[in-house]
Amino acid sequence: MTAVPSTRPAPAGPAPGATAPGAGAARQAWRRLRRRPAALAAAGVLALLVLLALAAPLLAHLVGQDPNAFHDDLVDSARGGVPFGSFGDASAEHWLGVEPGTGRDLFTRLLYGARVSLLVALGATVVQVLVGIAAGLTAALGNRFVDAVVGGATDVMIALPGLVLGIALTAVVPADFPRPLLLVLIIGLLGWGGTARVVRAQTLSLRGLDFVEAARLSGRGRLAVARRELLPSLAAPVITYAAILLPANMVTEASLSFLGIGVKPPTPSWGQMLSGAQTWFLADPAYVLLPAGLLFATVLAFTVLGDAVRAALDPREAGRLRVGARKARTRTARTAPKGAGE
């Protein structure tokens, strides 16, 4: 095969290893993604969850259950309200059994809970990522002073305990302010430090690259350069990081519920169910295992998918195992410090 056009100066075919012509970056990433069965499975699980969450009212209607309706007849009041039957009194009516104490239908509550949990976790992640990118870019592109200020703000945010902020916020925001949004804000505003750090580091290393300089020469303003040249390159590390943040946010939502700053009852969320279920795992294991299992599956799926997306976005992982030289050449040109010469 011909690796590089030899003496022929005329237009030549694509270089070796190139994918089919005309494919956009996104399409190529998708193609790489498609080759990973684990990623596809993860995406499938997530899609199913989202679908179920979206269709919660419909499904609840179909199975004929109201997630908030009490069923006092299904729980044993003398024994702390534990459901009568085994496995949370699962039955043809209540597929996954009922909640201890209230006898509310667990299946529909889990469905509705998914809405809140996914919404809060995704929302918080979006906030963290957006604020993190903004802060990271500002720090990296601004002067020393700006960098120091943003760095300080990051430290302040990391050190502020979520509980103090949460309680203070719940006190000032009006009672009818939507709780999920409040949770998104609390978790999001406290958790952007990591993203900011990642973005800052990445931007610093990208800033001096030739293509960024070339873009500056084209006469574009700073912002336009940052948006067009830097942002796309930040996608991979940010996605990786977001895949770590997302499950962490779900767990945080659970912990906040545990501390009483969660969503408003009777709206369920997995986190809230989990914190309520805490003590029930010996008396009524189903009550704990269901939300815990769902949370775990979601975390696993997000992680696997995140890993795969990051890999797919990284051209280095395009399937070529290099013995070395070619990659090395470009790399040194980028990162090698200017030697003093011999």
Partner: protein
Amino acid sequence: MTTHPVQPLVDVTDLSVEFPVGESGASVRAVDGLSFTLAPGRALGIVGESGSGKSTVAAALLGLHRDTGARLTGTVRVAGTDVTTAGPAELRRLRGGRAAMVFQDPLSSLDPYYAVGDQIAEVHRVHHDVSRRAARARAVEVLDRVGIPDAVRRSRARPHEFSGGMRQRALIAMALACDPDLLIADEPTTALDVTVQAQILDLLHGLREERGLALLLVTHDVGVAAESVDDLLVMKSGSAVERGPVATVLAAPTEAYTRALLAAVPRLEPTDGAGAAAPARAAAEARVPAPTPARPPAPVVEAVDLRREFGRGRRKTTAVDGVSLALAPGETLGIVGESGSGKSTLGRMLVGLLAPTAGEVRHDGTPTTGITAGAQMVFQDPGSSLNPRRSIGESIADPLRAAGERDEGAVRSRVAELLARVGLDPTHYDRYPHEFSGGQRQRVGIARALAPRPRLIVCDEPVSALDVTTQAQVTALLTELQQELGLALVFIAHDLAVVRQVSDRVAVMRQGLVVEDGPVDQVYGAPRHPYTRRLLSAVPSLDPALAAARRTDRSALTTV
């Protein structure tokens, strides 16, 4: 050193290497039925354009393809070991113990976290059952041998504290530490500038003479090979096209491919014969009016006592230290000098990417600060000068859009026009950089520089990362464009031969200062500054006999 003289040290028969690529099943055949032998103590050079499979062969000799998914067929015997079938332990003994490899990139080939001496000692201890202390002593000894001054102290330094040349010496020292019979050097000097390159080549030569090492030198620079080897093997697309004693192959190539390859090599000698770019330069030269003292045209760009410092306090370096120059329309100024002499810094100040600490830059007579539309730049590394995540069309269209062009059709047609102009398929607007070869990417870079119709283009080492044939194409394109558009060009390179081919005038830089400047023929023909003379003598020659003579010259010069 105990091998039987009758048995070749390296015996490669019918070697093929295939790499799996892309989707299921597809593969690239990097080496295709190659056979050769290397006797103990001899030196074999493998030359060929980029991608011809040279590095793959070198790696195959040490079995480095194991577990990478590559498929090897044929036999490879090195120092009595069958590399394709040897067990892991045997292979480890071979690696380093019998045959040692020196890699192309000296910085990334050493572990940044450990002291250089420790790394050499570690490798030494793999092959010799000695104490840590003895291994350290050995490391110091070999470092001293390769000419690292103050080796005891320097052995404790980490790679980043070494300059490029020193690092390459350290890698050679690492190879020596294990007492191998064979040294495999894969482009050992590509990342270095000419003077350092000459030193390394001299070192290799000295070691061979001293220890009777066999050498397998992989390079795309025919000049480097000419200086250092006994036999030459020319590769193309994974197979050998020609082989024989170096003098014969260079002087009387039998294959057309070899002839083309040789023809593409830029020469230092003022021959107007071969060399793809030479005619172009001649034409350009003809256009430039002879120095007319009457009224010189207003210079396109003018540097007035430019200075630039980096860092503060003790770390302060003066990259450019008071440079003044001027460039007329249609003129090409070559800038040469060793690494770190301030060439890029100067170039970046000329286009406004970097603000000078003192002095000023004038475009068409008016002082400017910051970026000006009339000045563009072509970067050294085609890999990193294009955003891998944007299509090339978008990159080229950037200046047009920045200038306020909103009509999509107009943008596209202008980009197509530019692509055609630099010799690319005009329909490739939506392709991404990685779908192009190095030379093609450099063309894209040039097209982007042309887009805002600049009056000045600063080319910072535009061809250093390309192999000779591609190099020739790109230089030819540049001169052609200049001629056609009346551009002023600043051409930065450390390759003196290339500079000679394209430039009208040349400036030699050293430590931020222009030590000599003038018309090319004058500077190359009768260098006044000793530094210029040293630079020129370091350029490898295609004639092995001349190379030997130069080597003697050099040792004389450096002892001065």
